[in-house]
Amino acid sequence: MLHADSRAGSFSTLRSVARAIFTLASASLALGAQAATLQVGNGAEPSTLDPQKVNGNWESRITRELFDRLINYGPDGSLEPGLAESWTLSEDGLVYTFTLRQAHWSDGEPITADDAVFALQRLVTPATANHNANLYYPIVNARAINTGKAEPESLGVSALDTHTLEIRLSEPTAYFLQAMAMTEAAPLPRHLLTSGVEDWTRPGTLVASGPFVLVDWKPQDKVEVSRNPHYYAADEVALDGVDFHAIEDTSALMNRFRSGELDIAYGAVPSARFEWAQENLSESLRVGPLIGSYFYMLNLRDGTPLSDKRVREALNLALDREVITERLLGIGQTPSYWFVPRTIASPTSARLDFHDQDMDSRRARARMLLEQAGYGPDRPLELELSYNTLEDHKKIAVAIAAMWRPLGVEIELVNREAAVHFAGLRQGDFEIARYGFVATVNDPYDFLNAYAAGGSAAASTGYADPEYDALVEASTHELDVDRRAALMTEAEKRLLDADVMLPIYDYVVVNLVSPDVEGWQPTALDVHPLRYVSVDEAAAK
């Protein structure tokens, strides 16, 4: 068996050799691309173009251009009608009715409510293994289907006619429309996916509903898309096409942006080069808040020093956030005394109690607390701080360890490679761990739910507080904006009062965008719909 295999291997090797030589011989001198094709430095290679299997910002950035949702993001990141012209919510907050516009797939087939039903059923089917399926659990039967206890057809979603979609929820859910704007909720071409075609996401096969269609995909190189002539607003799309280049290395991104090979470079500026970019690329540097919280998770389980609230509070007090955001990083992150980022839609307002005290009195109190907890010169507090591999995580950890050292806290820094770090978190194998929580939906629920029973942070840290769970649950079903904000703030305050985490800062996102690019805005979810973007060809060289 292996014999045949190894022969096949060497044969195809030969063929590849021949192909390589051929490519070499026919190497052209072509450089760059046509003017109205936007060149985007997109970060990592997309792992898939199936909108229900994507998992990272760099992937959904592409799938959002290929697949419109019922509700889209506008140029400023707010929600706007997409494939749905309008929608209504019933009095009891349980039934959404969407009216779809007249629109077509890129192969000319009409986009119908059945396509939306098909997509949502597929989304919660266990075999799809969607990462965010839990956000759709409010739909009737969604959780049962996703855990294999019910058939996908039983999902509370139905097509009332070709252009009317009804979604039934089991509880009122405040963030639901946000979830409907995510790429996983996009209607899918049912006629294609049920036709038995394999690899439907390939160029030539994939059928799109968004402003762009897939032209080519060279792994580890680029994904090319061009304007979709069947798009319902095709006239308004200014760009002829977009090349999404897979470039992960930040210095490579910056080099290629500076040499004019890229019009937009996402995430090209680590803190180490920010100051330089401010001086030299100021007209291209776009800094904006990102709904994300950078914090240290604390393992609260019995048996570690961190199960003592005094210890946690002392560490929290002695952490000088302003030194980190202003002196060490200097990108303009907001030092945070809270968990839920302040730039989120419908924000909370809880804060750590000491937020307005000066560092000296905070340090004094920290020292006192540690003494009370039994730590001192003879018995130093020894803790392990782990972080996943990244230059900025290292810088922050080193600085924080140095802030705590004068209190007699001895920190062992443990840099773990990402897979190990996050597996360690999942298994509760850590004492203090760096964590970054970036919103997938623009709603505090996304954050607060992490510490509620069954949430990922609760599972990692061992945090359990029934009253907290009840507050989060109540806030989810509360549709009145003010009352909901009050409930969420109360929940957040419980977390902060118990010092279950060490908040450090609210994220910002730094991108490079050529001044010739028009219609691109920084947004809180870092979404930038390209149908509103154009390139000033006269200005571009």
Binding site: W276, R327, A397, V398, R405, E417
Partner: protein
């Protein structure tokens, strides 16, 4: 080219060592390298006592500052406000010792394995060499990354493990030498006198194969230092606050435009060390190989 002609292959023993040493001292590049290496090692292990800063001391008033005399940061500070000279010297301790640990482990395993395989011969030799083939067919990076991940916390354990992967070439070289030496009179004589196999291997075969081995060692040390720097580039380097030249260089490479000293300082130390090791290696090869004149 020097003149001593028609020397028959030199006999084993002290005269070879003394001869080789004489030839080595005549090689100017090798001698300069030897002195420089000595000075560098001394600086790395004693120097940190003399600088005003400690390995993990943060100067809260001097983040990312270029070389100055006033602030006491003679070669500048890193992004965390730590003294770069101090860290480079400490980094040298790690890089040099890590390289020695890995090389030493590969030396022990490789020499024993190769000598046994070559001396016993026959089916065992076949089996042992087949195992070497298997190890060669595994992508080196794959093994190293897995070792790093599994032993993630202890740098010396990791490099012992890397040494345990690096021994393959050594084993091949020693086996080749052993096969050749086995046929020679003095081994056969020892056999005839009833000397035990183990003793023949350790007393006669290994000492006589030592020349190529020493040369290979001087090649392995730079290889490991570079490997360490590559792993640091991937983010798999030593744990903070410890550092190494590889870690410092990969940190510096990120900042080469804004803070060039962060790249230049450790790079100069690393490059100098590698240069010296290479010239020393060439010198040793020339000195120890009786065939070259």
């Amino acid at each position: 080219m020097t003149t001593d002609t028609l020397a028959p292959s030199a006999p084993a023993g002290d005269s070879l060592g003394r001869d080789a040493w004489r030839r080595l001292t005549q090689n100017r590049a090798a001698m300069v390298s030897l002195w420089l290496l000595g000075a560098m090692t001394l600086a790395c292990f004693i120097g940190p006592w003399l600088t005003p800063w400690g390995l993990a001391d943060v100067d809260w008033n001097a983040f990312d500052v270029g070389p100055t005399l006033e602030g006491g940061h003679w070669l500048g500070t890193d992004a965390n406000g730590r003294d770069l000279l101090t860290r480079t010297l400490y980094g040298g301790q790690v890089s040099l010792s890590v390289a020695l640990v890995a090389t030493f482990v590969s030396l022990i395993i490789g020499v024993l394995y190769g000598a046994i395989s070559g001396y016993v011969g026959g089916r065992l030799d076949n089996l042992m060499m087949r195992f070497v083939d298997i190890m060669y067919s595994l992508p080196f990076m794959f093994l190293v990354i897995l070792l790093m991940v599994v032993f993630g916390r202890n740098i010396f354990l990791i490099y012992a493990a890397i040494g345990a992967v690096e021994w393959l070439d050594m084993a091949r070289i020693v086996r080749g030498q052993t096969l050749a030496l086995k046929q020679r009179e003095f081994v056969e004589a020892a056999h005839a006198l009833g000397v035990k196999d183990g003793k023949i291997v350790t007393r006669h075969l290994i000492p006589n194969a030592i020349g190529p081995v020493i040369v290979y060692v001087t090649l392995t040390v730079p290889k490991v230092i570079l490997l360490e720097s590559f792993l640091s580039f991937l983010g798999l380097g030593v744990q903070e606050p410890l550092t190494s030249w590889g870690v410092l260089i990969s940190e510096g490479a990120d900042m080469m435009q804004t803070s060039p000293w962060m790249l230049l300082v450790p790079s100069v130390f690393l490059a100098l060390t590698l240069f010296c090791l290479n010239f020393l290696g060439d010198g040793l090869r020339d000195a120890l190989d009786p065939k070259t004149r």
